[in-house]
Symmetry: C2
Amino acid sequence: MSEQNLAVLLRRRPVGAPVEEDFEIVEQPIPRPGEGQVLVRARYLSLDPYMRGRMSDAKSYAKPVEIGAVMEGQTVGEVVESRHPDFAPGEWVLGGYGWQRYSVVGPERLFKVSPEDAPLSWNLGVLGMPGLTAWVGLQDIGCPKPGEVLVVSAASGAVGQVVGQLGRIAGCRVVGIAGGQEKCRFVREELGFDACLDHRGDLPTQLDAACPEGIDIYWENVGGAVQAAVFPRLRDFGRMVMCGMIAQYNIAPGADAAGAPPGPNLGPVVRKRLRIQGFIVSDTGWQRYPAFRAEMLGHLRAGRMKVREDIVVGLRAAPRAFIGLLEGRNFGKLVVQIDA
Amino acid sequence: MSEQNLAVLLRRRPVGAPVEEDFEIVEQPIPRPGEGQVLVRARYLSLDPYMRGRMSDAKSYAKPVEIGAVMEGQTVGEVVESRHPDFAPGEWVLGGYGWQRYSVVGPERLFKVSPEDAPLSWNLGVLGMPGLTAWVGLQDIGCPKPGEVLVVSAASGAVGQVVGQLGRIAGCRVVGIAGGQEKCRFVREELGFDACLDHRGDLPTQLDAACPEGIDIYWENVGGAVQAAVFPRLRDFGRMVMCGMIAQYNIAPGADAAGAPPGPNLGPVVRKRLRIQGFIVSDTGWQRYPAFRAEMLGHLRAGRMKVREDIVVGLRAAPRAFIGLLEGRNFGKLVVQIDA
């Protein structure tokens, strides 16, 4: 093969918001699979907020990407060479590695997918890590019951759109929070949320109007002013599913750091018997992937679950798209189509 | 009967720390039991921090005590008159009501106790609401596992002393936090905690020395500076059992109020998969009282569980003793012996 591998490397650790100069785009030789491994040619790359944490060397639940190494990420692609008996060239798989066209991976966390089930890119969103995140967090921590009020921040995003729709299917009254009227309209009209509030407006007042009896479940994707507005409105036995706090990823990825803003006084946690719990989907989520996938395919086929993707074309556009993701400029699940 | 009922009423709602003038001590006619009720003559009254909340009319999980009404509290005493078939005069019961000598109560939450099982006053501590609180919170939220590090604030208090000893029995390494060297020595030497730290000293440094690998479970009784020192030292999958935050009861009982100090930034909740959960023992605790009591009696008889009480004599001394409780001046479970 004379073709080269195109890859995006971490050139240096960002200070604050990443800039394009923090990345380096290179051509490298295509890696060769060892015994038991497969070579995947990526069709789509997922871009997700957690990657900001990997660019930092602050202590976290996963190791940082080394300087000069390929940026971490998950791809869906085609097996082009296999040295593992379970995978054959031409098969489509979820689980290629990194911001690059070609990757060599082992069979762990490699799932076969079919373009007949759903568009391939959906395996990075509603049928992939973000969808699994929504499903695991709701199941383990949110525990939605019919008639409860579920508030979802970043409601049009990759995780939020699935959380809200699963909440609707569970019989909750679902209120989204998103940035701007266009996203809010989409969340209400296309995704079927009962309401969607624009956090650029007066959020406390909007929350009082949309949730006059308070909030049972808050899905936390953002932190900051949105969290401050929602927290005092939680009802007795309320659950706060701590999925992420993107508002502070650029200032304090781990948030032990000096400079992290304070949070809410925890007195109401006692009085209201609140549960505030964090989770990381990779802890136990992938063991449950087959059950998740079966359920989600059912929702999708029945038309109960809608999908919105924001597809950027060309791997070279990934750094800029990722920077925009941290600023909320994407609209729907952000995916990079590797080649035009 | 020419004897009168002695009772402590709420005279007015305190602003900040309660003072003796917020209470009124009166003699009243002894109440008469209605059909299905019993008249209890209290031997001991329990004084507990939650009562500060009942003196305020801020919204909470229980109704406030009305101005002019008897202060809420639980007593252990003797049935002197019964109009319920399950209770007979001369029997000892846990579950008399209020800061008063005589009370009329129904059969709900009235438990027969025997002076042969344990000293009667223990039914208000290790065998009563505080002990049940410790047992329920550890079981439902703390989930202690052998080898884990459990940190208990207000470690010599009514709840803390039971939490730590149950943690020790469960195989945890138990570190108490208390105010002053005398309490710390008692917690280590008598209660058998592995360590006890004086929060009047440099708590972060002491915590680093006592828990070099971090904290798995934090039992929160106090809030404030102690919480601020413990929170960043929680390990992955740590649990914070939110039992109370006595440090702020006089400034912001419900802590939605303006003036409540901020809490910790919640970023680490995601990254470390922390669980911060509050509970109120009265929600489900009393249904589990028989199982709790049987287990605790076993620990007491085997000498695995030690008890320290701070007994104040005379109901008229209750207001001053309660004010001291909020200042940490008690040493052990605070109980009022009604009569000398």
